[in-house]
Symmetry: C2
């Protein structure tokens, strides 16, 4: 049937049209069915039905006009067509039937090409979440995620990489690990993410120092030039299926285990990594509450690495407390840079960074077995790591002459004093992140939480437990109210009730 | 934050806004999150994010402006808010945890109020499909579906009702059952559906004779006046959750078993039915392939009826072959009316209609135990059923003087002759429905398929197997091509290959 085109001034995120309910009946088309639009060539679109489009017209979202050419045609011929075959494969997942490698590839390809409706995407992630996957299926999913995106191929090997499972505030170790590895002559093209539910992702941190929106070509050339890079993966087209899956998972608050494995390893596979160290923070409040679960995750990551030809080592780390004492982009960078410049700083940060860097140095053959950590500490102490980070900053387009003292937290700040003398007996990571986010992190880079007292430490009544920084007074005030209502840090003997003792400093 | 309102000239089917990606970050809002719009009062909307809305503006779909008043305000204050609690209950379903009655009610209420996103709806139907439900949960779901819609309350009892599980072409028996019951002094307010994937629903059939888009008040008053009605349930607000669930299930080609039970019984409960007979067609090509599955379905329906205070009897019927010899609105009505007027017509139709009517007559106390069918046949033979149907037609606003001879099938027709002598050994219900739909049914009411030979019958080479009727020549031609490509009826000894022998008659 021929339809008059009515341009809808809005994007749908995919090829989508709206048909009048009567016309749709005539075509035998229902919401979510596919139609072909015949102009010069065929374009397949998702059909919705509704009464705001008059009979004989078809509402087309912006993507369709863009695809059809500069000037959208006035009319178009529309023919019902079948759903993508991947919809039938998603049904198989729902019915707990095993998929073939081709079927999984087809699903991932249709996800990447925006060929699936939100209902189909949601059914896929829900069914995957409920039924899980076999090891074969996880491998095929990972390979499909790699192959449906951009890949970086280096001429020199080995390529090293590092990943953290996340969930721990203040985990700024990549700022130390990457330059330590690169300073030892190994290549480490680190792609990283921005915080989604956290207070600062590695990409948010690095952006304080240099641009991070690099494409795959830039990542490759900078890595080849200075040995390392810290880029935002979202600016590349590496494993693009991951973001699309998250779009359907986030609203359901799910993070299917096997997709987590595939997502991590696909990003490493796409940059051609040979050796990968994975940081698994374990403990209350992290994504991995117990050591047992941490061990299972480690085994599964190592096995998946083997299947993909990557050498993987996992390090379980203490995750119940922040790494270092800062949470929020600017103050985390300040803390990391201070360690690089002076070797002064929190033990938890220095120990964790050099331990993970040490594993990578041994895996890459740059340090003898058992000597990696020592060498990492030496790289740090000698100033070689700092020099390398400056080279990386400069190569990415930042100012290499920056010092930690130049990096200033938000001008609005307030301290939360301890209401009692005693030891810190409870420390709530999630609340620290929440307060940092309300203060503006990660969007307001200078917002964050400085932690004065961690679990087990002694505090005197009136001494500050945390300092909150913010760019905007109203955000500081909201964060203060939130912190007061439910203390993120509990001191032995303090009253567990509302204590209005914030002081603006 | 205050935003400039940009009206989107399109409906979303729910309260929905689009925020600029940067603004959304600032608010800490992601796609699928909820925001509150503060105008005079608060309105909760689903937020999407995108770059086609400029910073500082919010795109609002039509429903929001309509809700906010005749003139949409120029600006609006937007505050992030939490998701409806039913999203957490859907997560429980995904995790296979039992729900309470209140939690199920909350989910159904949010479904009816369009408070859930497509992703949340899809997760719910997918998880329900995979995990199933306990008997308690099915009962609570049914009660919630009844209570979140319109209910009809009769002063006189008992109220009789009838339902067919469907899947059999030509199942026009309600046109006989309803007048037989009403002619015996019982009340039967039958709501029915239009065909979704079939060739003709009961509502499509009745519409050939009289208007079927009646509201609940009209259904009540017509039933009280003449004893029966055959209305389209979709015109009422009875159990509205059902249609919304189907909207998410159809694209996934799923029909979760427990939702089927709840949907059937909610519609009966909402009209205040005391006694219900349910027709379960069993056999290849139906929704219930085996007698075993039919028995389980019957037991579950009877148990659910007991829980809801309804007396339910189920009749398993032969479903592998059409009821009567016609498929498509007009020709089905012609066949049914001919039986009512002359008692001449296919045995399968007369037998099935009177058997089911007989059960209802006994359940309602209008016939002695074991004498229901006999009495139903007598009601038919005496002309009382015809007289009653005419009263119902007139009460619904149709022409009571219509006779079967006045009802004409589509003017374009073609016969498919048998390519061989022999017995019909295969008969494909689904193909018959497909051909009728391609010919135009159910939208083109006069389109359909007349079946000359059913399974086991003898046919001579050249004798017609089916006649296809259509309103439009091109649809007839498409239906013919489809039938030729893959014969719906296989005659012993015929070549199973393409035989181009259609003749336009």
């Amino acid at each position: 049937m021929e339809f008059k085109i009515q341009q809808l001034q809005i994007k749908a995120g995919k090829y989508k049209v709206v048909l009048n309910t009567e016309d749709a009946k005539e075509l035998g088309t229902r919401g979510g069915d596919r139609v072909q639009l015949k102009d010069h060539s065929y374009l397949t679109a998702i059909a919705e039905t509704g009464d705001m489009i008059p009979k004989g017209s078809v509402g087309v979202y912006q993507e369709i006009c863009e695809k059809m050419g500069k000037v959208c045609p006035l009319t178009v011929d529309i023919i019902p067509t079948s759903r993508p075959s991947s919809v039938a494969f998603i049904k198989k997942v729902m019915d707990h039937q095993k998929l073939t490698q081709e079927e999984i590839y087809q699903i991932v390809q249709d996800i990447v090409r925006d060929n699936l409706t939100e209902i189909e995407m949601a059914a896929y992630v829900t069914a995957s979440y409920i039924h899980g996957m076999t090891s074969d299926e996880v491998e095929w999913l990972t390979r499909a995620m790699i192959d449906t995106g951009e890949k970086i191929e280096f001429d020199t090997h080995p390529i090293m990489d590092k990943h953290s499972i996340g969930g721990v505030p203040g985990n700024k170790i990549s700022l130390l690990v990457v330059p330590i590895i690169a300073a030892n002559g190994l290549l480490i093209p680190k792609t990283s993410s921005r915080a989604i539910t956290g207070a600062a992702g590695t990409a948010d941190l690095m952006e304080v120092l240099a641009p991070v929106e690099l494409n795959a070509e830039e990542i490759k050339s900078i890595t080849e030039k200075v040995g390392g890079v810290i880029a935002w993966g979202g600016a590349t087209n590496i494993a693009p299926a991951d973001d699309k899956l998250i779009h359907a998972e986030y609203p359901l608050s799910i993070d299917p285990y096997n997709q987590l494995l595939a997502s991590i390893m696909a990003k490493k596979g796409a940059v051609g990594a040979d050796s990968v160290v994975i940081d698994i923070p374990v403990g209350t409040g992290t994504k991995v509450p117990t050591t047992q679960e941490g061990k299972k995750l480690a085994r599964d990551l190592i096995e998946l690495g083997e299947r993909l030809g990557m050498s993987v080592e996992c390090a379980m780390t203490y995750g119940a407390s922040p790494v270092g004492r800062t949470v929020g982009p600017v103050i985390e960078v300040r803390e990391a840079l201070k360690v690089l410049e002076t070797m002064e700083g929190p033990n938890s940060l220095i120990e964790k960074s050099t331990a993970l860097a040490g594993i990578l140095l041994e895996m890459g053959g740059a340090a003898a077995k058992g000597r990696g950590k020592e060498q990492a500490v030496e790289t740090l102490r000698s100033g070689k790591a700092l020099k390398k980070l400056k080279e990386i900053i400069e190569a990415q387009g930042g100012n290499p002459n920056i010092s930690y003292q130049d990096i200033k937290p938000g001008e609005h700040k307030a301290e939360l004093p301890s209401p009692a003398d005693g030891y810190v007996i409870e420390f709530d990571n999630k609340r620290i992140i929440e307060i940092a986010r309300i203060a503006g992190a990660p969007i307001d880079k200078a917002a964050g939480v400085w932690i004065h007292k961690k679990k087990g430490e002694m505090v005197k009544k009136g001494d500050p437990l945390i300092t909150i920084f913010a760019d905007k007074g109203w955000k500081l005030s909201n964060a203060m109210k939130n912190a007061e209502k439910d203390f993120p840090i509990i001191v032995e003997g303090m009253l567990l009730e509302r204590v209005q003792t914030f002081r603006v400093v």
